[in-house]
Symmetry: C2
Subunit: 337 residues, 2 copies
Amino acid sequence: MAVTMNDVARAAGVSLKTVSNVLNDYEFIRPATKKRVQDAIAELGYEANLTARSLRSGKTRMLGLVLSDLSAPYYAELASRLMKAASRRGYRVLVEQSDAAGEVELNALQGPFRQLTDGLLFTPLVIDADTIAARLGKKPLVLLGEHILDPRFDLVTMKNGEAAAALTAHLLAGGRRRIAVIGAHPDESAGSAGLRLNGYRKALDEAGIPFDPALIAPCDWRRDNGAAAVAGLLDSGVEFDAVFGLNDVLALGAMHELLIRGVQVPRDVAVAGFDDIDEARFASPSLTTVSPGMEEIAERSISLLIDRIEGREAEGQAAHIEAGFQLEVRESAPQVS
Amino acid sequence: MAVTMNDVARAAGVSLKTVSNVLNDYEFIRPATKKRVQDAIAELGYEANLTARSLRSGKTRMLGLVLSDLSAPYYAELASRLMKAASRRGYRVLVEQSDAAGEVELNALQGPFRQLTDGLLFTPLVIDADTIAARLGKKPLVLLGEHILDPRFDLVTMKNGEAAAALTAHLLAGGRRRIAVIGAHPDESAGSAGLRLNGYRKALDEAGIPFDPALIAPCDWRRDNGAAAVAGLLDSGVEFDAVFGLNDVLALGAMHELLIRGVQVPRDVAVAGFDDIDEARFASPSLTTVSPGMEEIAERSISLLIDRIEGREAEGQAAHIEAGFQLEVRESAPQVS
DNA sequence: GCGAAATTCTGCAACGATGTATGGCAGGAA
DNA sequence: TTCCTGCCATACATCGTTGCAGAATTTCGC
């Protein structure tokens, strides 16, 4: 049986509550008493029981993180950073993989998962704003990414549209005129895919290049889909001189397929991605991409969520935070002077 | 205020304890009573308070997973699979990143983290068997990987030595004679690095090829280290016709550096890795590597740990489980007939 | 139709912490 | 001297659940 506060109290010759007060930095404790208690704690090796504390206080000091799949490099890096940022502030992160299943997303909002956490970082992929609003309890929620842009919810994201436009402009500046886009999600306009596609179209417009739907390949954001999409384009005979993967794994999958088919990158087809995962820098050729300021995203979303939890942030108005981005020009779509 | 068991009991006209019994599938409950309770639960939208349950029962139905860094692709994939396997059995996984810091590893063993979990999946990188034994409480512990081989602890791992030998033999069969090894950990023999290096030496021995220490590059298992190690080898003028990265990111970093320097893969230098991360298949050229049967590792380690927790597994003797492996021959070190 | 056994349900006391209310004891003001 | 205020410590109730022991009811064998 573990050491409890009662044991400490007995050993120190004080009441249970005094031990509690010492632990919680209560102001009015005589230094001598405090020391006696602390000595007893050290001697007995007492550790506070977090479960009991949670039951009594209603706080768990855990944050929930809901994302589709932790094995996707972008999410893995993000989760790692979020966990470190949370840890610095005395919180842990409990991850839930939704696999883009609506049921899991719903359960994360209201089920046992919610109970275990003081607040939620949520990347909704399936359910919509009204569903969230309907199921949302009293605990704080911060949305990540931006499948949902809604004044009711806090949101931390990045300048998807701007970044995609900048990347597209870079490809155009390199002389590319027929830029295929891989990973579009036709049914969804507010999500990252939609916003990035918009950025692409905006850049085309500004350059006076017509938009050709034949260049847009819809698919889920997985490496093998990127490869398959490029295979489809090549087989269908659509001409293109660049590929914009709406995220890095798509671009890398696409690049792999191009190289297998004997298409040279970047000579024949330039390739660009989005996310700047660690792998992009070490691909061959290295991948031109957008670095989304992930550290900023992690830091600010954790800060915002914890501020909400601890009531430091004014209620009533949702925060919409947009992290900056940076173009990482590498071999797959180099600068052309 | 949330709905409690008391509210349900009142609504169903039974005692608090009967509600508890229904929830816990107690055997002797009249079907009619059970239904009344279940209806009341449904009507009130009651959800069990996990914190209270944990306090009372001493179980959290959470498993701890301690690894160095979730953003490493191998760990990300492993964590994802472990979480799914645990979820199927009604457990959650709480991840702790140690960053290979001994202090964090110690705290995971005995601190608050331990309290929050019913059992631990632990990849120790710094602390040794005796330290673990000294700090180990009563809760089950399963070691992952094999930096520690000790009869006191359960261990789930793979045939590191055999696999490395098979991979080396494959390189030798391809006519390679000077195989550089990247990512050795000179101070540690029982860890994955040591075992894989042993496998390499064994294969060399069997082929009658002398071992050359100049070909062994020690470094931590990070992509940029792989690149730097190859750069070092090239600069130092050591001759080699193959690179064996002790894991995939090392191999991929190495391959990147080779290609940048104009060394052709596999013509001039073959490259092989270890882990078969998703990325290996889509690298250019695709990476020859060892697939470690990760699904088996995930499934069996979760099973073992939960069996221990629930007392299904006989105490007293530690299980040492070795998952199988498979050679994935790809472009970077192809089959030579 | 009786006692024993099986079934069904209940009350009480924990699990280990914290919030509230309050009780002493100083010392300074009245 | 008396009263009040500020400091320090305490007792008790409480968070929502489950284990234990036992009460009440039914079933069953003979």
